[in-house]
């Protein structure tokens, strides 16, 4: 076990993490046991629903509902300095910058055409 090297392009699995073998403080163990207990409870709930012969409907996942709700409902957005800056930088500034860039480019081209010095870049005839 001490000579284990992870497979290339893969992370080291948790069961082979050295902390699991050398870090045996009671706090760490208690925390791991709590996490394992939560995982076991969730697994038990899921398997009970899955193997219930009278079940006709889909097994609803509350974690998925919460994730969907959090991502689609932006209830907790607050206009602060940071969010206003980001909004202005990505939402408002490009409008003005792009307008200026396109306008100057087109005006220069129009002036050249009027003066007769415009060289058509992709002209295939002559």
């Amino acid at each position: 076990m001490a000579t284990y090297k992870e497979a290339p392009l893969a992370t080291r699995p948790k069961t082979l993490d050295p902390a699991e073998y050398f870090n045996l403080s009671p706090d760490y163990r208690r925390a791991e046991e709590k996490r394992a207990a939560l995982r076991a409870q969730l697994k038990r709930q899921y398997l009970q629903q899955l193997n219930n012969p009278h079940r006709k409907e889909l097994i609803e996942d509350p974690a998925l509902t919460r994730w969907t709700y959090a991502r689609t409902n932006n209830n907790y957005f607050r206009p602060t300095a940071k969010t206003s800056l980001i909004g202005g930088l990505f939402g408002v500034l490009p409008l003005f910058v792009l307008y200026v860039v396109f306008k100057t480019d087109r005006d220069k081209r129009e002036a050249k055409i009027k003066a007769g010095t415009y060289e058509r870049p992709y002209n295939l005839s002559t």
Partner: protein, 198 residues
Amino acid sequence: MSAAECQRGKMAALRAGLLTRALTKGKTPAISNIILGTRAASGPSKDTLPGAYPRSPEEMAAAAKKYNMTLEDYKPYPNDGMGYGDYPMLPERSQQERDPWYQWDHPDLRRNWGEPMHWDFDMYIRNRVDTSPSPVEWRTMRNQLLGFVGFMLLMFGLGEMFPCYQPVAPKQYPYSDLYLERGGDPAKEPEPVKNYEI
């Protein structure tokens, strides 16, 4: 709240309900819901859905319990108004990094039922962004790529600015610069074109 206040509240709600029923005779019940501000009881209850940023330790504990996490693991995103609320900040690891041999409840997503999902879960699925280790360090890869691309761009740019080719001259045509072929008048005598020097 005292019992008298409860009664008054109930009476007010009853009156509001009767009023809306009178106003919305024959219309769908959704209209009365909008006026009363109620929600159907068929969906998830408000305490299982994500809420606002937790301020007190009790709120932190309640949020950790809601998301099926231990209190030590539960860490909300910083409260800077970006819209996360009390959603937990999980480690930024893609699903590709998880054990492929464990019996997950959803094997293609490598996730168990009820497990808290990362905020960017749809980015970290196995078809998309992957944070598993690379054969060479990321920094080395990035430096090598940018170095090569930058060098090639630089050389091509210099080549455009200072072109270097064999000396050329304009093409010389015979028969007085192809006078007849270019549509010149056969009766007229073209002026002689000398393309050589002795």
